[in-house]
Assembly symmetry: C2
Homo-oligomer: 397 residues x 2
């Protein structure tokens, strides 16, 4: 596979417009269309019980294995909006379906922005013709721009993937960082390919790569009301990725690399973030290592120390101790950037100068070993900064 | 009961000294002594599996139902220090026991401060004669001062409690806020009374009031390696608090009020805190309401909004949705300071000006109703401030 210039895979186009939902007047409406009626797809959405109206619409009214179009807006999450919100999401979906000439059940709807305020569906519908009017095959960058909220930069990648049968293309546009956004709503990731995949293969591959990417990052440990990841395959390349074939393995690797790269961009773009932490936990029991990794990644004290470039390993130990209470004297080993700082729960001598240097880089890796063996996991997380507090304490007012 | 002037209850004295553990040179060693060999007591300590050496010593080597003396230091938590730390804690305990003329098994040892650095036990032992030399019955304020780390002020209360049989006295000294302290170690609360209680009554009452106070506060959701609460009863008043008597009920109420007041002082003194939040959750299932309350109190987005005086109720909804995933369309009701903002999961019209005013006070109350009935809980929490980030990103370096 190789990084490629921008532009959608064959069979896809995107269009954008400014509907006036963003106070800045920037573009806030994005359409993605596959021109093939045989388009296959898969979707993963938030599990929040306060899921936004568009998520509920996608869950109940959309044929999620054959999504042909996406209508997405930024500036308003349409969450906490009750029956009115559902009506608004359905109206926007109908408007997009009609303008694109696609049946509504094949159109997914996605919203991101502030929650608890009614969506201006009329403004979005009014802007629909403009977005349809500029549909083009090289607009993945403007789609990535129109879904941004507080993202510092567009997040998108394009890959050309060499398969035994020929080259297929993979593109993806993403935004946000879970609930880190002050809107506290939403990570989006829209992925397109011109490979030919069954909807079952789409679902299998998407499920696998999401577990290794978006489910392994944490900015502030908060589950969003609006998270959505959609993979669409147009088949326009004529190259089939068959189940359990070499092509499937190669395509899966490329998809994994693409999605992990975007997930890491989301962590690195955490509000005010200056460093990305990676905690690797080894030991006995999948649940145990997961719980420990989440506790370390979610600790505001670990995150603040990461922000300050402070090699305060005691906070890692404390987080582990909290994650596994009532296990007196647990023999935890901790390494920071490969430098052993704690063995069997107790400090060991280390080169302080080397450690101070190691934690001042843009990425810091923590390795934690708890008793037992056979299980391992990782979580990527951003630091806790003054800017995070500023943005999140002054959002709606 | 009535608030009283400072000074220990009959039978108790305290002494303090500067051992040089605090860079500021301020006092960092505190002794509390009960002069009666019939002293009864109860203790509650952290459940962390990375519990500090003094916690392990208290767990295994101390007769916790008859503690007669406490030796406490600030400036170093003696946590993450392995076998050396145990040796140091035992040495400090022996030194205090010897200087006070009490058998070591009746001496509890407590440490707070930075973790992962070896305790200077020799400095503490050297300072022991000075602390013993100024033992006095009115030194509860200096004890409260010597256990401070980043606390803005001493935390102590004294109560005179009228029982049918006569008046008894209750005093308590506290410090810290769970793991909010940059040391990330430690809440202490030392409680004394001259009432006569069996050790079983001490344990029963302490267990009950700790559940209603220290277990219901959250600064940053982090469990400390060093938390400890100790109740000691000298019996010097000659007034017995018998099991299931009116006196026990009255004494219990006073103890509850004392300990809750100190717990709230700890939350209000959270690093950089300007406001205290109280979330009250009602609904079906003790585990459910507890989980929802913790999710709201622990959300950095809710805490940042509290800090900024931002009435961003969507973040409350989001936290509830995260706490109870996979329950689509949960009908959550939310009130902020008695103003209904969300009904059955959807926004309702409210007086924005009144709400803005309500969330700018020093305490903000959130009421959350989830489906079902019969269970209710509350958590007090502090806000997330720039100062928290500053202190916690620059601590050990």
């Amino acid at each position: 596979m190789s990084l490629a210039k921008s532009g959608f895979p064959a069979g896809f186009s995107g269009g954008t417009a400014a509907a006036g939902l963003k106070a800045s007047g920037k573009e806030d409406l994005a359409l993605i269309l596959c021109d093939s009626p045989d388009c296959t797809s898969a979707i993963r959405q938030t599990r929040s019980s306060a899921a936004a109206a568009p998520v509920l619409v996608n869950r109940t009214l959309v044929e999620t294995d054959s999504i042909r179009a996406i209508v997405a807006n930024s500036g308003n999450a349409n969450a906490g909006t009750g029956q009115d919100g559902l009506t608004d999401a359905i109206q926007v979906r109908y408007s997009a379906a009609s303008a694109l000439g696609v049946e509504p059940e094949y159109v997914a709807v996605c919203s991101t922005g502030v929650i608890g305020q009614r969506l201006d569906a009329v403004a979005l519908c009014d802007a629909m013709p403009a977005a349809v009017g500029n549909l083009s095959s090289d607009s993945d960058h403007s789609v990535a721009g129109a879904i941004m909220t507080t993202d510092k930069a567009e997040k998108r990648f394009a890959l050309d993937v060499e398969l035994p049968e020929g080259t297929v293309r993979l593109t993806a546009q993403a935004k946000g960082a879970g609930m880190i956004q002050p809107s506290f709503a939403t990570m989006f990731c829209f992925i397109q390919t011109d490979a030919k995949l069954s909807s079952e293969t789409c679902d299998l591959l998407l499920g696998t790569v999401v577990k290794r990417s978006f489910e392994r990052i944490s900015v502030d440990g908060q589950l969003s009301t609006n998270d959505v990841v959609i993979l669409m395959a147009s088949g326009a390349s004529g190259i089939t990725v068959a189940p359990q074939s070499e092509s499937e393995a190669l395509f899966g690797q490329a998809l994994d690399a693409l999605v992990r790269a975007l997930a890491l961009e989301i962590v690195a773009d955490g509000e005010g973030a200056v460093r990305v932490g990676r905690v690797l936990v080894e030991g006995g029991g999948d649940d145990t290592v997961e719980h420990v990794a989440r506790a370390v990644a979610g600790s505001p004290l670990v995150k603040a120390a990461l922000h300050g470039g402070d090699p305060n390993w005691g906070r890692i130990l404390g987080a582990v101790g909290m994650a596994l209470p009532d296990s007196p004297g647990m023999p935890v080993d901790i390494e920071i950037e490969g430098i052993e700082v704690c063995s069997a729960g107790a400090m060991v001598p280390f080169d302080e100068e080397a450690l101070n240097k190691a934690v001042s880089g843009s990425e810091v890796e923590y390795t934690v070993r708890v008793p037992g063996s056979g299980s391992v996991t990782e979580v990527f997380f951003s630091d806790l900064s003054h800017e995070y507090v500023t943005i999140n304490s002054e959002y709606t007012t």
